[in-house]
Symmetry: C2
Subunit: 143 residues, 2 copies
Amino acid sequence: VAIAPAVAVTAAEAAINKPLPLNIRPNGLHILADLWSTKTDLLCNTERIAQVLLRAASAANAQVLQQHMHSFGEHKGVTGVVMLAESHISIHSWPEHQLAAIDIFICGQANSNAALTVIELAFEPYRTQIHRVERGLVKTEIA
Amino acid sequence: VAIAPAVAVTAAEAAINKPLPLNIRPNGLHILADLWSTKTDLLCNTERIAQVLLRAASAANAQVLQQHMHSFGEHKGVTGVVMLAESHISIHSWPEHQLAAIDIFICGQANSNAALTVIELAFEPYRTQIHRVERGLVKTEIA
């Protein structure tokens, strides 16, 4: 039986995760999207998944540096990453769970939400679990 | 002036992000670690960063499939990813902000926290911002 890993933030971390001053702006928005989909053929297909992630990068107006896909075998899951000038889009799929765990981490002016829309249109998930995390809060000038 | 991206979860997403039944266990623990470090030489060095991430993967008892590093130029940041059989470890660094945004997404029995310890020992951050997210909650048998 699998044991759920501990996810509690330690006291030391909680003390460090303090609110930031108003002149701090996030360096990038990271969307963590777990999508459950009955499109298991897509979940196993490195070529089609690469196409979806590249379309997503394009929709976000992000610049692709490299793309790498790995298949765990016929009718099995895929691990893939599109490395961007603005960070990355990644996917890990488990067709046996009808699941794709997707990360869209895009910095600067590119549009992470546009990338998510492209991916959701492709996978047509029947259930989603989405988290948005501000990454690397850095100082910028105030208007 | 940079505008902070909207990070609010939509009402539809909030409705979907419901608590799960007790017989649901997470498929993987994803640690999002933003580390601020004065070790700017390390933040620019693809070879040393690759070594750190591979040591982290080893500490987590994870199996490396591929590794890819991209340098944005001398004295500039790095984008890198180590693709694992258990998902991935990635880094994006901004030496101009003394910042490394690191993801440790490891499924199964591998130990994400051991990987984080290795990375923190290498970067010796003076400030950290850490989030832990349970990814891809899937059904498993109850003991």
